[in-house]
């Protein structure tokens, strides 16, 4: 599996209104690219575009993998809502992709992946009997089971408590290493822990690159670089939000 880079450029249009003009986004192969920005700016729309999901918006421009092949069938998605089947066990949830494609599910591999996310003992439980954090682990195991070179993460950890969130960030960084990851987040700390590259999306300024620490991701929460980058990012986000509020008023 060779993870491709992804290039996206053009204008994102919703109905008659321009949602994001002059987009230029380069997602590096095999790295974590993080998108930040105020709510409603179109981050999720971008993520869905990359994943090939219906968005209601249209992109006038181009979206393609750098290796020239189509992205269809090469992207796995993990969302804030875990999207688990409430009637199926954790194990059946992990290998639902194969069932949906009409292929024989590989229960052994699904078990290994549940072990890898620390849920081996709960393989037979239904999602209703799992905590939010455990459900996100199942969703992560399912994403890994799909074994796609590109992974889109749309605020996957935002509903978790801080301790669980940090554990999940480490786990995801370890297990998704080598894949091209596009992550949407609201959380400056999460962004600065995990990003190899980060972009700020803003309806007025468009899309602009953000500084990330030089140290390799995932960075420890308590390291000075993470702290400093997080603080700088928070200042930047505050300024952007004040700016757009000023324009709106």
């Amino acid at each position: 599996m060779i993870a491709p880079g992804i290039t996206l450029h053009g204008t994102l249009i919703l109905g008659e209104t321009v949602l994001l003009p002059d987009l230029r986004l380069a997602i590096a192969p095999g790295r974590w690219t993080v998108l930040l920005g105020p709510s409603g700016v179109g981050k999720t729309t971008l993520a869905r575009l990359v994943a090939g999901l219906p968005t209601g918006a249209r992109l006038e421009g181009a979206l393609h993998a750098d290796d020239g092949a189509s992205l269809a069938g090469r992207v796995a998605v993990m969302a804030q809502d875990d999207q688990l089947l409430p009637w199926a066990s954790a194990l059946a949830n992990v290998c639902i992709g194969d069932r949906l494609r009409g292929m024989r599910p590989d229960a052994n591999r699904a078990r290994e992946l549940l072990d890898a996310v620390g849920l081996g003992a709960l393989a037979d439980r239904k999602p209703g009997l799992l905590s939010t954090g455990q459900r996100q682990r199942v969703a992560l195991a399912r994403t890994l089971y799909e074994d796609r070179p590109v992974v889109v993460l749309d605020e996957p950890f935002s509903a978790l408590d801080p301790v669980t969130r940090h554990a999940m960030q480490d786990l995801a960084a370890r297990l998704l290493a080598g894949r091209t990851v596009l992550m949407i987040t609201h959380d400056p700390q999460e962004a600065m822990r995990l990003a190899d590259a980060a972009w700020l999306i803003d309806s007025t300024e468009g899309i602009c690159p953000l500084e990330t620490p030089d140290t390799p991701a995932p960075r420890p929460v308590e390291s000075p670089e993470t702290f400093a980058a997080q603080a700088a990012l928070l200042r930047r986000l505050t300024r952007a939000s004040a700016l757009s509020a000023g324009i709106a008023a």
Binding site: L53, G73, V77, Q83, L85, W87, A88, I96, L100
Partner: protein, 249 residues
């Protein structure tokens, strides 16, 4: 613990039944209503005992038609819902017909059904099938179409075709809705049998009620009514148990 809860419920049911019977007895006693207008519970009990064999055979006929009609209605309703969910063309043509057909009071069709199918079992079976078909078809279809957006995304990213999406996601997701359709059907079905038998028949509980009424045997009519209530209750309990065990998660 569970046995205790059950015996508590049975006890409560016995108590309320006994209270109702006593109330009935007192009303008859104090109003002095003649037995051909309102027989007392003891008269009805005697009629039940004296006509046990007759009641049993007639109930047998009605129950058989009831079960056959219910099975037919449910199978057709489920089939229609699946077909509508799978085929946009069928939705376009069949859905308005379904809505129009639902506006026709099905019970009012009984004379027509009897005219076409005669006094025998088929007209009763079709009546039951008609009244059970619509609740099942519309409730199940609504459930099939109400797939949570996250699961629709999952189907798309996994590369599921329409049939597998239906089998693995839409149908399991719609089972609770099917259960509510079935519950409604179980309430309508005994009514449909009796109305079918009233319009024209040579046997069954509805027929027995007409005969008893015509001959001034009000106690036998009430006895038939009791048996009918019991039949309805046991059908409802069976469907309820099935719905809870199999269809809800």
């Amino acid at each position: 613990m569970i046995a205790g809860a059950i015996s508590l419920r049975v006890g409560r049911a016995c108590l309320s039944t006994a209270t109702a019977l006593l109330g009935w007895h007192l009303i008859v006693h104090f109003t002095g209503a003649p037995a051909f207008i309102l027989p007392g519970p003891l008269d009805v009990g005697r009629a039940l005992h004296d006509n046990a064999a007759l009641l049993l055979t007639q109930t047998g006929f009605s129950a058989l038609n009831l079960v056959q009609g219910l099975a037919l209605g449910v199978v057709l309703g489920v089939g229609t819902a699946l077909n509508l969910a799978l085929s946009p063309a069928a939705r376009l043509f069949l859905r308005p017909v379904l809505i129009f057909a639902q506006a026709v009071p099905v019970f009012a069709l009984a004379p027509v059904v009897t005219l076409w199918l005669g006094y025998g079992a088929p007209s009763k079976i079709v009546m039951v099938a008609l009244v059970t078909y619509f609740p099942v078809a519309s409730a199940f279809f609504d459930g099939l179409m109400r797939l949570p957006p996250g699961l629709a995304d999952l189907a798309q990213t996994s590369g599921a075709g329409p049939l597998r999406r239906l089998i693995h996601l839409q149908v399991p997701n719609a089972l609770p809705a099917l259960a509510s359709g079935l519950r409604l059907s179980a309430i309508y079905a005994p009514l449909a049998v009796v109305i079918g038998e009233w319009v024209g028949s040579s046997r069954g509980l509805g027929h027995l009620m007409l005969m008893a009424n015509g001959r001034g045997k009000t106690d036998l009519m009430f006895a038939s009514l009791m048996v009918l209530a019991l039949l309805s209750l046991s059908l409802w309990a069976t469907v309820e148990t099935f719905a809870r065990r199999v269809l809800t998660r």
